[in-house]
Symmetry: C2
Subunit: 256 residues, 2 copies
Amino acid sequence: MRSADDHRRLVESYLDELALTPELGGLEAAMRYALGGGGKRIRPVLCLATGEALGCPPETLLPAAAAVELVHTFSLVHDDLPALDDDAMRRGRASTHVQFGEALGVIAGDALLAEAFRLALTYPTPSVARELAAATLGMIGGQYLDLTEQDEDEAAVHRLKTGSLFGAAIGCALWVAEVPERKQQPWRALACEIGLLFQIVDDILDGDGLAESHGLDGARLLADAAVDRAEAALAELTADISVLAEIVSSVAARTS
Amino acid sequence: MRSADDHRRLVESYLDELALTPELGGLEAAMRYALGGGGKRIRPVLCLATGEALGCPPETLLPAAAAVELVHTFSLVHDDLPALDDDAMRRGRASTHVQFGEALGVIAGDALLAEAFRLALTYPTPSVARELAAATLGMIGGQYLDLTEQDEDEAAVHRLKTGSLFGAAIGCALWVAEVPERKQQPWRALACEIGLLFQIVDDILDGDGLAESHGLDGARLLADAAVDRAEAALAELTADISVLAEIVSSVAARTS
């Protein structure tokens, strides 16, 4: 059984070696820049760990795992644009639109999204790509709420903007592992709790969102409750959950 | 056999009634605005006409035809952004980012692309969505060339930026009609000529591109040659090509 770190290394080397569509030409540089830069790869790692717990080898999961990471990266590139969050820095270096100009920021993001679908469509059935489309649309719905609504809808923003892709990370692995829909619910409940936990810890680290509305101690209590529910969800699964449990702990304990 | 106008009405009413993903919430207004406004619907009409020539009823073709139109619309919304072509007007009214703000222009475009894949993924096999992904990536490659290269690469820009989606309009219909890959080539040659013809006429109407490099008379000669090649491609097909011939003539004769 591979550790989460093993999975992370597999994801990194798969992304490093990923052949992009040749017609994209020089746009590849901006896409690779956006994909690099030391992301935590939590979503693709979760995808690989879920699939392996279900008996799937990583080779069969990597295109789906990478597709989820590409959608995540596309969303960061567009979120950082001046018209949205206007973030000049991302992970300690210039964000993509600062490095390559705003026009290439827009179309590199577009291309990352289209490449994600190309990868998800390498499977023989459409189920992985359908999962990805639904999650992407949910995530964009969350971005819309975040851009336009008052804080009162914070839970919906989190569920959509962050939760959708955590759901897809696990959901895509379920389709690759051919888990029938009627048996997916316990896994999807786990995805939901991990996504929520990730967001609570994010807010604690940034001192905003739930850390602002509930105070730091209140937010830590929320995180503890999410860990408890994630562990309860894990206990429901009939699979080797050791690596998934490790991921839950590391999401709870992360400091960056 | 339906006329091109019949197909256009079918496309309009399908797009009017298209249920978007509920999680997109209020973003739907910006997406519907972008989709409206009197586009010619040439790509989806071509998709329906191709499919009908191959014996497919329009109902089975409409999701694919609409998906191609959504990708086209996404590309216009992003192309119009200040960082790209900075067009405040589109088809005689405010472009989407002017009407809804730049942030919603970015994410409404993203959502149109993701909805296009959702529609293409309603088919039982992944072939329509694969066609769409490849075409979208080619089109973005063309946008990149257009943004960054000198005019010398004009033919490549046209082939990618315009030709890719004309190819997908016909290509998606071929997959829906279950035309095996080895029999697709004559249809794809037709798509290539119609795409080129569309672009030449565009340049003639705008007085730029090929009309600039070849002069108006030279560009008209190029258009006539493309019509001849499109008609030759049509003559190769063993199908009722009357509506497709009508489309070629109307693309050649269009004045707006």
